[in-house]
């Protein structure tokens, strides 16, 4: 298993960690933190050079802080790039820089803090980890003999140097672990876990909205284009038939053509209804449900307590839910009667489709029910199903709707 972050690499056995690139990447990550730190350091150095009085000092410090904050977005950008050294998981796309966004301020705050304070800690950890082994390794170079701290004993010098060489790989642990911990904090700030989820939901909503408007466009195009032309064609054919005597050779051909046109029109009508029912846009959900129920081969009792129009996505979702439920009812339930109830309550639209059939509807079989549940979820709603073997079946759809 290959580690994708420094933190998980720190959990691997020492010989593997020492041979991997992670300690070096971690070191580079921590040292790269010095680069943005140059800005506050340079400011401090400038202040030191000017050596101002106390009021001027406070003013200069405030101004310096402002400069650092202004550089915040740049530092934050650098931090994001730097994170790739120790965290292979992709970060979510950075939202456009907007002042009102809380994420922006969190990111800048983190960047400023890491440039002014946290790098001290990073540097400290690196020093503390590397200093003892390096010191030991430098034993042969240290002054020895009388007056010096190290006695002039060659085997002792060699032993100390060897101990340093053994200890050096161990420094990989604190460095990798610290870099991993820092990266985890950075990720928590730059990519809070819930942003991913919000993004997914939004994109799903956009997708469904896109489909719906596309459906309406197709419906309109077919209606205003192909359908009108076919009707005009059937009128022309009808007129042509009038000009031709019954016995004429062209008469049966014309009759045939008219029949074909009529069939094409009927098919087109059904197609358009499946794409997007006009009555839904014109008269709203109650009328559209009445219309669907009117087409059902199984008699359906209606209890619709809806007044006024609901938001379009809710109406479309609810319509297709009833449509699918009634189609299932007719196809699989073996019911003699169905019932559709719809009402609004506590800013929710509640829909219930029930029947007296044999039950046993299973979302696992077929995609209709799961598709409906997915669709309901895109507008923040849910789908509930009770269908014991032997019946009855009750399907309930709950959709939030702000009026």
């Amino acid at each position: 298993m290959t580690a994708r972050t420094a933190l998980s690499a720190a959990a691997t056995p020492p010989w593997r960690l020492a041979r991997s690139a992670w300690p070096w990447r971690s070191l580079a990550y921590l040292l790269a933190g010095m680069i943005p730190a140059m800005l506050p350091l340079a400011l401090l150095a400038g202040i030191e050079l000017l050596n101002p009085g106390l009021p001027a000092l406070i003013l200069l410090l405030l101004a310096g802080l402002l400069v650092v904050v202004a550089a915040g977005p740049l530092i934050a950008w650098f931090d994001r790039r730097r994170l790739r050294l120790v965290d292979g998981r992709p970060l979510p796309q950075r939202p456009p820089l907007r002042l009102g966004e809380p994420g922006t301020w969190r990111e800048i705050g983190y960047a400023v803090l890491s440039a002014c304070v946290a790098w001290w800690l990073d540097l400290g950890v690196v020093m503390l980890s590397l200093f003892p082994p390096l010191l030991l390794m430098s034993a042969p170079l240290q002054p020895s003999g009388p007056g010096a701290e190290l006695p002039a004993v060659p085997w002792l010098t060699a032993l100390l140097c060897a101990a340093g060489c053994v200890l050096l790989p161990l420094a990989a642990y604190p460095i990798t672990a610290w870099a991993g911990a820092r990266a985890a904090v950075a990720r928590a700030v730059l990519a809070p876990a819930d942003t991913d989820l919000v993004e997914v939901l939004r994109s799903r909503e956009r997708l469904v909205d896109g489909f719906d408007s596309e459906r309406r466009r197709i419906e309109r195009d077919l209606h205003d284009g192909a359908q009108q032309r076919l009707v005009a064609l059937s009128v022309t054919l009808g007129l042509a038939r009038l000009q031709v005597a019954d016995g004429h050779a062209a008469a049966p051909l014309l009759d045939d053509a008219r029949q074909q046109t009529a069939l094409a029109l009927a098919e087109l009508r059904e197609l358009i209804r499946g794409v997007h029912p006009q009555i839904l846009s014109d008269r709203g959900l109650a009328a559209a449900i009445r219309d669907v129920a009117g087409r059902s081969p199984v008699p359906v009792e209606l209890d619709l307590r809806l007044d006024g129009r609901l938001p379009a996505p809710v109406e479309v979702t609810a319509y297709f839910a009833v449509n699918e439920a009634l189609a299932n009812l007719a196809r699989h339930s073996g019911a003699a009667r169905g019932r559709v109830a719809a009402w609004t309550q506590d800013r929710r639209l509640l829909l219930e489709v029930s029947d007296d059939g044999t039950g046993g509807a299973d979302p696992a079989r077929g995609t209709g029910l799961t598709g409906l549940a997915d669709r309901a979820a895109t507008v923040g709603g849910r789908l509930l199903l009770a269908s014991p073997a032997g019946g009855p079946t009750l399907l309930r759809v709950e959709l939030p709707c702000e009026r």
């Binding site: 209606h223 009927a266 209804r273």
Partner: protein, 216 residues
């Protein structure tokens, strides 16, 4: 057949031309052919036609402007015969229209029907004469749906009810079914009895029989 002065409202130019020449062919006069609902209202009030033929979906909103205009015209002139052409079988629209007409001079036909030019012009004539014409497809769906009260009707009676809904006279129904007029009258009496429509002098009981189903 008398010559009818028709105001035609249809936004598709192609179909407007087609319908105009169709009506002319049958000797009717298209006094105005317009493409939107506002023009329809205006022309009807100035030209006072014998019958209005209108599409449901029309500019500017491409929703149900044509039907709404028809309902307004009907409210202003209760005797104005109106034939609505629709691309769809919408029971809601059919019911609204017939409710507005109560019993006389309204029609709701699928656009498919205009291809049967003879029948279409025939239906227009019946609407102009104050009959109610409902598209057979709408009636068929309603009959399919209203199974429960209708199980009392025999298949033949259902067939007759369908033809009544199309606004046909007893004589026409008799010709269509190749039976005597007396047999048709007997069927209709049977239908009215089974649908609990008490006999009285009102001629429009046959329309009410259809309305019963439309409103159910």
């Amino acid at each position: 057949m008398r010559t009818l002065r028709v105001v035609l409202a249809e936004d598709s130019v192609l179909l407007r031309e087609g319908l105009t020449s169709l009506l002319r062919h049958f000797g009717h006069e298209v006094v105005a052919a317009v493409g939107d609902a506002d023009a329809l209202r205006e022309r009807v009030s100035t030209l006072d036609p014998d019958v209005v033929v209108t599409d449901v979906r029309m500019p500017p909103g491409f929703s149900d402007e044509g039907l709404r205009a028809a309902l307004e015209l009907r409210a202003a002139r209760p005797r104005l015969p109106i034939l609505v052409l629709s691309q769809y079988v919408e029971q809601t629209y059919a019911t609204e229209l017939i409710d507005a007409g109560r019993a006389a001079g309204t029609g709701y036909l699928l656009k498919d029907r205009v291809g049967e030019v003879g029948e279409f012009v025939d239906a227009l004539g019946r609407v102009a004469d104050g009959h109610t014409v409902i598209d057979p497809e709408v009636v068929r769906q309603l009959l399919d749906r209203r199974r429960d009260p209708l199980h009392r009707l025999t298949p033949r009676e259902r067939e007759v009810l369908g033809l009544v809904a199309e606004g046909r006279s007893n004589a026409a129904i008799a010709r269509r079914l190749v039976v005597t007029e007396a047999a048709v009258a007997k069927h209709i009496a049977g239908i009215l009895a089974k649908l609990d429509l008490p006999p009285d002098a009102d001629d429009h009981r046959r329309v009410l029989a259809v309305l019963t189903y439309l409103r159910a």
